[in-house]
Amino acid sequence: MSDMQPAGEPADPLTTAEAWLQAGREVALATVVETWGSAPRPVGSHLVIDAEGNFEGSVSGGCVEGAVVAEAAEVLDDGKPRMLEFGVADETAWRVGLSCGGRIRVYVERVG
């Protein structure tokens, strides 16, 4: 019943994206498109971000969301989609802390 969003259930990112768009907000969507090893969120997971940095959903269970939100601001600025990669072998990932030891690839695009 996740689509119905009963009270107490976390909001669904795609439904949030549509609501934000209708409210006239600028919206970016981040999607996990590939994972290796013990990635915290499965392929297809979404994080929706607006121009003010508000976000809903998750692509890593909290480890790299900050970095994805920052990159989403760039995507909203120039409208070009980006592919981001996070993993322990990556210096950026050490900094933002993908502590599970997995690697993920995240596609970030503008919506609307």
Binding site: M1, D3, L14, A17, E18, L29, V33, E34, V43, V111
Partner: protein
């Protein structure tokens, strides 16, 4: 993704239709397709496979990389009969990720004391299923042994193309059920979709063990979704 794609995608998800967003990772283009829409070539094969497995994935086709994001409706299980097996099946099915509803018009059986925390409806299947319609992502298990209650639910499940239809009862009981459903106008192939006797053959003896056998059979049907239908068409 444009606003229309997002709207189309969300509408399909609300209506419990299988839907996929295909994104060209090199060009940025995207489209939204349902599982009843044909997609040509190598990409089409990958799309069909992803709809079957329910797993989102990145694929290469025609020298480009595509991301296939599959959205299948969450599976439901309707259990007809608030019986002993159902008392074990309800918590097991919830753990396995099914939205579950138990339907039994007999209020002595369908009591909240017997089914704490379970979505329980003390109505006839005809009434209960009008409020919570069956679909291709719903399984139905008829467990009352009473044709007055089980038969209308089984007929509704066959008509709605439920991915799993199972009915409790011996081979003899099932033979009489087949006669009744045939008289009601169902064909041999349709009736053949009913799993009876219900449950995987694991020698289940207690109600809880039968519940395990039933749930395992439902999961097997869910994970081979589409394969069974095509075998039926070929037969």
């Amino acid at each position: 993704m444009d606003a229309l794609s997002l709207k189309t995608l969300n509408a399909a998800r609300r209506e419990r239709r299988a839907v996929m967003r295909i994104t060209d990772l090199d060009g940025g283009d995207d489209r939204v397709v349902g599982d009843d829409e044909a997609v040509a070539g190598v990409l089409g094969e990958a799309v069909a496979a992803a709809f079957r497995s329910g797993r989102s994935t990145t694929v290469e086709a025609d020298g480009r990389r595509f991301f296939l994001n599959v959205h299948l409706p969450p599976p439901r299980l309707v259990v007809i009969g608030a019986v002993h097996i159902s008392q074990a099946l309800a918590p097991m099915a919830a753990i396995a990720g099914f939205d579950l509803r138990v339907v039994d018009p007999r209020t002595a059986f369908a009591s909240p004391e017997r089914f704490p925390g379970v979505d329980l409806v003390a109505e006839w299947p005809q009434e209960a299923l009008a409020a919570w319609p069956l679909d291709a992502f719903t399984a139905l298990a008829a467990l009352t042994h009473d044709p007055k209650i089980d038969d209308p639910a089984l007929a509704a499940a066959l008509s709605a193309q439920c991915f799993y239809v199972g009915a409790l009862g011996s081979r003899k009981t099932h033979a009489r059920r087949v006669e009744r459903l045939t008289a009601a106008g169902f064909g041999e192939a349709e009736i053949g979709r009913i799993h009876a006797p219900i449950g995987l053959a694991i020698g289940a003896a207690s109600p809880a063990e039968i519940a395990v056998a039933v749930l395992a059979e439902i999961i097997a049907a869910l994970r081979s979704r589409g394969l069974e239908a095509r075998r039926g068409a070929a037969a």
